[in-house]
């Protein structure tokens, strides 16, 4: 037995399944608003899944359902074969708005999950330091979120979502509110972070974005959703070699995939 085998004893990344999940919201006029219609999905452990679709098609709703924050109207979602009825234990979430706690320093924000889960903070100090280092926030530990730029705040939120070694990471358009340059940097930060996590327990990621390029750059699988009520229109395997780098974006295969997805949107009459 080599030292590496000890890693295997850790619980692996989450396997996520959605079985004909539908979500109906009550609309203000008393009618019903169908946000998701019969969405089925089978994500193997460790998959990085990009979710793209037109605005309002139910991407966030789907993520909330996987997170256990909403209950589906019909159908069911399982994580590791177990039905989701409340947030899963080893779950990390990043919202579009960073949801940082303004009265806590960067350091205390990152360690929030450890505190809430009553884990031993001392054991996670090194990890916090390392995560902040990976996103270039070393030296900002004592800053308050109000003293950071939008991109830096989102990086803190990402570190926070990873501190407790989640085996399932849900990200809802995490970079929508940052400028294009920062976004590019954050994309590579994220690749590095999840790659790093995968040397440990491994993490399954569901990443919502409205940027096709972003989805292609980051994911192994790309789910294309239809306009509301959201259905999964296509599931595209992304075989671009890893690790993905800046050079990935100039590969012909990258553009072929982007075009492929764009034409799927085209066929919906959306582009």
């Amino acid at each position: 037995m080599s030292a590496n085998d000890t890693l295997v004893t850790d619980p692996p990344a989450a396997a996520v399944r959605a079985e004909e999940v539908s979500m109906v919201f009550p609309a203000p006029d008393g009618a019903e608003l169908r946000a998701l219609a019969d969405v089925s999905l089978d994500l193997p452990p460790g998959a990085f899944c990009g979710l793209v679709g037109p605005s309002g098609c139910g991407k966030s709703t789907f993520l909330m359902l996987i997170a256990g924050l909403y209950r589906p109207t019909t159908g069911r979602i399982t994580i590791d074969e177990e039905q989701v009825v409340r947030p899963w234990d080893a779950l990390g979430v990043v919202f579009q708005r960073d949801a940082l706690l303004e009265w806590r320093t960067v350091w205390d924000n990152v360690l929030l999950p450890i505190e809430v889960k009553r884990l031993d903070k001392k054991k996670y100090r090194d990890r916090a330091t390392r995560l902040l280092e990976l996103v270039g926030l070393t030296g900002f530990e004592g800053f308050y979120p109000g003293e950071l730029s939008g991109g830096m705040r989102q990086r803190v939120a990402i570190c926070r979502s990873l501190i407790h070694e989640p085996r399932l990471l849900l990200m809802d358009e995490p970079f929508a509110a940052v400028d294009a340059l920062t976004r590019e940097k954050l994309n590579f930060d994220l690749l590095r972070l999840t790659a790093e996590s995968q040397t440990g327990r491994g993490t399954t990621v569901v990443f919502v974005t409205h940027s096709i390029e972003e989805a292609v750059l980051l994911s192994d699988q790309i789910l294309v959703m239809s306009p509301r009520p959201g259905k999964i229109l296509r599931l595209i395997g992304n075989d671009l070699p890893k690790p993905r780098t800046l050079a990935t974006r100039s590969e012909p295969r990258f553009h072929a995939l982007v075009d492929d997805i764009r034409s799927a949107f085209h066929s919906m009459g959306l582009v």
Binding site: G68, P87, V93, E115, G142, Y144
Partner: protein, 298 residues
Amino acid sequence: MHGSASTREQGPPATESARPVVSESPPPRAVRLRGVALRWLRFNGIVIGLYLLAFVLWEVASRVFAIPTFILPSPLTILASAAEEPSVLATHTSVTLQEVVGGFLLAAAISIPLGMLLIYSRLLERLVYPSLVAFQAIPKVALAPILVVWFGFGLTSKVVLALVTAAFPIVINTVIGMGQAPREMLYLMRSLRASPWQIFIKARLPVAAPYIFGGLKIGITLAVVGAVVGEFIASNSGLGYLLLVANNNLDTPMLFAVVVVLAVMSSVLFYAVEAAEAILLPRPLRRSQRRLDPGANA
């Protein structure tokens, strides 16, 4: 479980170097104190100067135009009147101060938990909120006679009147503050499987704290009003009582002296609440941090 808003873990050693170091070796204490005093004076000098100027103009005007003292006494006359029997003024001030502080502390102790409960219970909200509003609509003077019947002529009836006068803004602000935590923040806490208590103590309460302090600041000034109104109606001590006596004696300088003492007392209490806020809340939640122009607090 540690305190709500002041929850602040020590960062790693690197944290210290994150902040710019101001000076290498501290100057001697005397020099430092003089520096502080000078800076304070430079910052507040204009304000103090203008106030002094206004008093001087008032004094001069009342002499030049020979304004009768029973209409508008000059600042020096007021001061002299206050200094004539300082112990009388002090005794009555101390009575009112006790009523105000007692009433205010009770109001805070009841209103803050009540405001929090209202957020967590729909039924309680529907039950209590309307009667709270209706109660607030009653002029508090109208309550004073009843309170005297219930609680007697002494301190207690004024404490209760101060309490009921101060309570409303504290409850309302607590309710508003408790509802301010953004949805994402609550979802985030729930995604971490935070307990309702953790969500309360780590998210809702810190967000609410500045609002609660807003309510407390309004409340403390209203507590003064409540206590004085109570003394007006029925009492034999306190600044409100002294005001009535001075009025009966047509002692206008004394009247003004009491008004000045009341104003000073209210202000001191107000700033005491603000100081408590500054001590209890971490920097980003403090009032001065939420100014319109961010450059101003550099």
